[in-house]
């Protein structure tokens, strides 16, 4: 029979590795949340207003 159970040391090391991996995942998820939180905010009217003005400015040059 092959010994299936890892030694306590190995189990401990692998648990620590899993924990580190989970921690990294948690940080990754938070990072995306932080970014998406701003992406999902309503865009202030100012942006479209500025773009509209830039468009008019470009249009009035007319070559």
């Amino acid at each position: 029979m092959i010994e299936q159970r890892p030694s306590p040391e190995r189990r401990k090391a692998s648990a620590a590795l899993d924990e580190a991996r989970l921690r990294q995942q948690a940080i990754g998820v938070r990072l995306r949340q932080m970014f998406d939180e701003v992406v999902n905010e309503a865009v202030p009217d100012e942006f479209l207003e500025i773009l509209r003005r830039a468009d008019e400015r470009g249009g009035s040059e007319n070559g």
Binding site: R23, I27, R30, R32, F47, I50
Partner: protein
Amino acid sequence: MDAATEIKPRAERTAADDNAFKKELVQLIPHLRAFARTLCGDPTAADDLAQDAMVKAWDARASFQMGTNMKAWTFMILRNQFYSEKRRSWRQSQLDQEAAERTLVAVDDPEAPVALDELRQGLAMLPAEQREALILVGAGGFAYEEAAEICGCAVGTVKSRVSRARRALHAILDDGAYERDGASASDAMRSILADAERLSTVR
């Protein structure tokens, strides 16, 4: 930016081109705001930066090839804008970093999960190059190749920055913020500052 501001003859562009460009640009505004927020921290300064980038992108629309990655293109414009402003106010960013260190050491809850505020503080402590690489790949949804294009560096450089940023963040959030006496936070800070110094001499 020199390449981006080079305008093709006006006659080659039609109103339909401009409309298509504008439509796509408007859809990117939320993403530009989010990227700016991670670079600036301060929401008002971030929106100013995002607006400047948006106008720059609009003015340079003739140099953009429709059908290619406009998100990466606008992010590159925003990033260039940020660093040209940052060069003028280097001292301010130093102060921001000191403030971030003070706030971080003050956190005192070992049981807390990864809180957004802590993450923001942790990000603020990273060297700018690592922070932007991590944001672009880890939150912005860019491939390493696209992030490399945005940052104007090699793909391998982006990969190593992302991996160093992940390790540093992990260290800051676990050993820094959770350490009651703040000793580990200053250790982490020291290594991060050494990193930043090394990077700035490479430039």
